[in-house]
Structures are given as C-alpha cells and as structure tokens.
C-alpha cells in the first residue's frame, strides 16, 4: 500500500513581483507504507521544498500530493510529522515541553503529554535534559529533540530534513543506525534528506537523487540489503558499489556547475 504519492510536482517561488524561481519540477515519487526513502542532491536543489510539499506545508505550483489516496491540502502531524532542518525548538519552553508540543496542540491531557514526551526523549538519549532549555543544548542535541518532537506524534510518515546534519560523523552513524533500526520495527515510513552518501545508503530502501536547480529526479536507486541493518553493512560490496554510483552522480552535478564561475571570472 502506498502512504504517500507525489505526482508531477513543480514549485515556483515568487522572489520578486513578476519574478519566478523554479525550485523543483517534474517530481513524481511514491513512498510505500513502512518504506524508507532518502533524498540526496546538491545544496539548493529543492529538497526541503519537496519535503514541505509532501507534508502539506507548501502548496504545489503544479501537480499534487496524495496521502493514502486523499489529496494533502494542509499538514496533519498524525499522518506526516516534520523534523525541520533548522530544528526550530521554542526557546521559551523547556525540552520536555518542546517534545510534547504537538500533543499539546492536539489537546492531549497533561499526564499523557508528559509521559509520551519523556518516553521519546529517552529514546533519543536525552532523558536527563527534560528540564533544560534549548539554548543549553548543542546543535546536535537540539536536532535529536526535534526528532523526538516528531516521533511523539506517532506519525505514519516521518519527514526528516537533515536531522543529523549538526552531528559529527561518528555520532551521526551510531545515532542514525540506532534510530533506523528502531524505526524499522514500527511500520513507519521515513523520508530523509541528507548530504551524506553513507547516510543516504544506510537508511534507504530507495535513494532518490536530484539534479541541481531546478531540481528534478535524475535517478532512483534501490538498496536491497536486508534489515535490520547494522554498521558493518557499510563494508559490503553492494554498499560500496552504490556509494561509487552516488559519488559519480553528485560529482557530475558539481562538475557541471563548476566551470561557470571560472568562465565568468577572468
């Protein structure tokens, strides 16, 4: 069964009156229930834009987004919950309150909110920071809080925009693999944007590679490695083969862009 389907999506931002910037176009993809999809592509190619449309946060200029057959016109955090690239925790609320924010909005009872929020906070390994303020946490810790906030909604799809971008390579691998393994068991679908080749492969059932702006899908790569996966997967030939392929694709993008500033310069 498909949870999420994107059909012929195009988004154009009106940057100035009369001036349009096409961020992405011809995007069609599906996310099956329980499937993990990663999106990778050069910076500014419209990855966040696509993700925002998938969650109903941004209306498409063309095309549409369907969730379980119904057109998505506004966000529903029980269907699809976001982890934003800039985490966006509320500085005036403590960590526990931040994690429980979606439940508060949904009108849940105080004890239910506190219970679920504490559980998800433990899950991302920050249980002892329940009463700290966001500014007392490092960037990587704040991102984990944002993940916990999305998980607290127990959504069918998690839309994660570089959720581990502020972490160092090692913690990102361990935390990412732990989280991926636990999410595998919950029948949740995941759409994850990343700049890391390893992360893109490790998480994915399917990798979507986007071109530079205006972003289009230039390749979809299936990753057939069995689950649950652990970090040793990264040493296997299949992983390495995909990594090389991704490297070529992304590098090709950069190469296409690189000569321009040189030619335009001196």
């Amino acid at each position: 069964m498909t949870d999420l389907r994107v059909e012929g999506l195009q988004v154009a931002y009106e940057t100035r009156p009369g001036e349009r910037l096409v961020a992405c176009q011809d995007i069609s993809l599906t996310v099956a229930s329980g499937e993990f999809v990663t999106i990778i592509g050069p910076s500014g190619c419209g990855k966040s834009t696509v993700l925002h449309c998938m969650g109903g946060l941004l209306p498409p200029t063309q095309g549409r987004v369907l969730f379980g057959g119904d057109e998505v016109v506004q966000p529903n955090p029980h269907n699809a919950a976001f982890v934003f690239q800039d985490y966006s925790l509320f500085p005036w609320k403590n960590i526990l309150e931040n994690v429980g924010m979606g439940l508060t909005f949904a009108g849940a009872g105080k004890t239910e909110i506190a219970g679920k929020a504490a559980e998800k906070l433990d899950f991302v390994g920050l249980g002892e920071f329940a009463h700290a303020l966001p500014r007392e946490l490092s960037g990587g810790m704040q991102q984990r809080v944002a993940v916990a906030r999305a998980l607290a909604m127990e959504p069918r799809v998690l839309l994660m925009d570089e959720p581990f971008g502020a972490l160092d390579e090692q913690s990102r691998r361990t935390l990412g693999s732990d989280m991926a393994r636990i999410l595998e068991q919950t029948q949740r679908s995941v759409v994850l944007i990343t700049h890391s080749l390893d992360e893109a492969i490790f998480w994915a059932d399917r990798i979507i590679v986007m071109s530079a702006r205006p972003g289009t899908i230039i390749e979809e790569i299936e990753v057939k490695a069995p689950r649950p996966r652990d970090l040793s997967m990264m040493t296997e030939p299949e992983f390495q083969a995909i990594r090389v392929r991704l490297f070529d694709l992304i590098q090709l993008q950069q190469a296409k862009k690189a000569p321009q500033p040189l030619a335009g310069g001196r």
């Binding site: 966000p75 919950a81 800039d86 509320f90 005036w92 403590n94 924010m101 909005f105 009463h131």
Partner: protein, 281 residues
C-alpha cells in the same frame, strides 16, 4: 561543559556584584550632592523661601503629614487609581494586541493608529474626560488607562507581528489552532516586547494619574499637592512631592518584579538564576 559554564556564571556574578557596589556608591554620591546643594542654597545661597524651603522644614512637614488621616486617604485614592488604571490598560491593551495581530490586514491597518495614540499627548483630552466622567476618581482612571493603553497595545502588536516565521511554521506543521498559536508560540516569542510595553504602561499610568489629579480633582495626592501650592504651604508641597516619589518608586518596583522575565518552566523568578535582574533598570 556544565562545570565550565557554572564557573563562568560564578565569575560573571562576582563581577556584577562588584559593579553593583560601585553603582550604589555613585548613586549615594549623587544624592549627597543634591542634598548638599539644597542645604547650601537655602542657607548661604539665600534662595527665597518661596522657591525652595529649607530641607529641615520639608522633613518636619513630612513628619506632620504622615500622622494625618487626610494624607493616608489621599494616598489610598492615588494608589487605587494607579492600580485600576494599569490593570484596565494591561488587559485591554494586551488582548487587543493579540486580536489585531491575527491577520496581516488588521495589523497593518491598526498599527499606525496605535503608534499615533502612543505619541499623541493624551493629556490634551483630559478636559473631555472630566466632562464625560466627572471630577471624581473615574476620570483619573479612564484618562490614565487610555494613555497607558497605547504603548501596551502597540508594543504587544509589534512583538506579535515580529515572531520568527520558523516558529509559526512549527505551529502549522504540528496542527496548532489559532488559540494555541497565540498561547504557546506568539505569546512566548513576543514576551519580551509585551513585558516592555507593560513596563512603559506602568510609568505612563503613574505620571498620568498625578497629572490628572493636579489638573482637576477632589481627592488624591496630586490634589493635596495642588492645594498646598495654592495656599503657599511650600514645605507641605515639597513634602508631598517627595512622598509621591517614594510611592511611585515603590509601586514601580512591585509591578516590575511581577513583570520580570522568567525562565520557562519556573513558577517564580529566583535570585540565583538572575543575579543581574536588579541592575538592568
């Protein structure tokens, strides 16, 4: 991380404490200069009694005043007017600010009006308040509340309008209703601006009430002050003015403490976490 942080805090606290004692010494010095100038002026300086009565007489006038029923009644009237006017202005100003901030159209239409009201000397309308509400305490409350309403509503609206888009985005993504957005997002983000509006409101209320009592009333400290002046009881006049200063400072302090920014998740502000609070005035 935590240890270096607490060491840093402790050092900052000590630095502030040292700074604070210097500040108080300087304040005392300034006070001494004023008193010295007063004593000199009324003594060797030979300033006329009708301009500046000797300090001793002012103090004995104060000693007399505080034993009279008249003074305490007047004080009660004035404080009552200030408190009610502030409460009215705060409730109406903040709620209207929230209401107006809900749509860009409302906000854009009303913001200039509020800022004009803020800049306009509302005292010019005081005669109208006397006409409408009469010479009693009602006109003082209505006038002072009107004057304080504008800075409070204006600051509230400005604060609510400048809430960072990324926080509102979280609200939309996580299904916040408009009420929840107001309560959990906009109020939190705009809190410093709203509080500063309320603090301005406190000052405006106090000035307005006394001014209104001076200009036309039948009760209150301003009224007593005006009566003392018109019967040339100069020491009494100065005495009441000084006592008014004490009342104003006390009231301001109490309201400021109540309006002090708090650390989220805390019920009341504690001194340990905000040692600088009494310095940044």
């Amino acid at each position: 991380m935590a240890t270096t942080e607490s060491a840093f805090r402790a050092r900052a606290f000590r630095a502030r404490a040292k700074h604070s004692s210097t500040v108080w010494a300087l304040r005392l010095l300034l006070l001494l200069i004023v008193v010295g100038a007063w004593l000199y002026g009324t003594g060797p300086g030979e300033i006329s009694f009708l301009i500046l009565p000797p300090l001793g007489e002012v103090f004995s006038a104060i000693g007399g005043l505080v034993t009279t029923q008249v003074f305490w009644t007047a004080l009660g009237v004035t404080v009552f007017e200030m408190l009610v006017a502030f409460l009215l202005a705060a409730v109406v100003g903040v709620s209207l600010g929230f209401f107006l901030s809900r749509t860009p159209l409302r906000a854009q239409a009303s913001e200039p009006l509020l800022s004009w009201g803020y800049m306009f000397p509302v005292v010019l309308l005081y005669p109208l308040f006397l006409l409408w509400v009469g010479v009693g305490i009602g006109s003082k409350i209505a006038y002072a509340a009107t004057a304080a309403f504008f800075p409070i509503a204006y600051n509230t609206l400005r604060g609510l309008r400048s809430v960072d888009e990324k926080y509102l985005k979280v609200g939309v993504a996580f299904g916040a209703s408009r009420l929840a957005t107001d309560r959990h997002i906009k109020a939190g983000a705009a809190r410093p601006m709203i509080l500063s509006g309320l603090r301005i409101g406190v000052s405006v209320v106090m000035i307005s009430v006394v001014l209104a009592e001076l200009l036309g009333s039948n009760a209150g400290l301003g009224y007593e002050l005006q009566r003392a002046a018109s019967t040339l009881r100069l020491p009494d006049e100065y005495g009441i003015a000084l006592l008014l200063l004490v009342v104003a400072v006390t009231l301001q302090r109490v309201l400021e403490l109540a309006l002090r920014p708090r650390r989220p998740g805390q019920k009341a502000p504690s001194r340990a976490t905000e040692p600088a609070a009494q310095l940044d005035e």
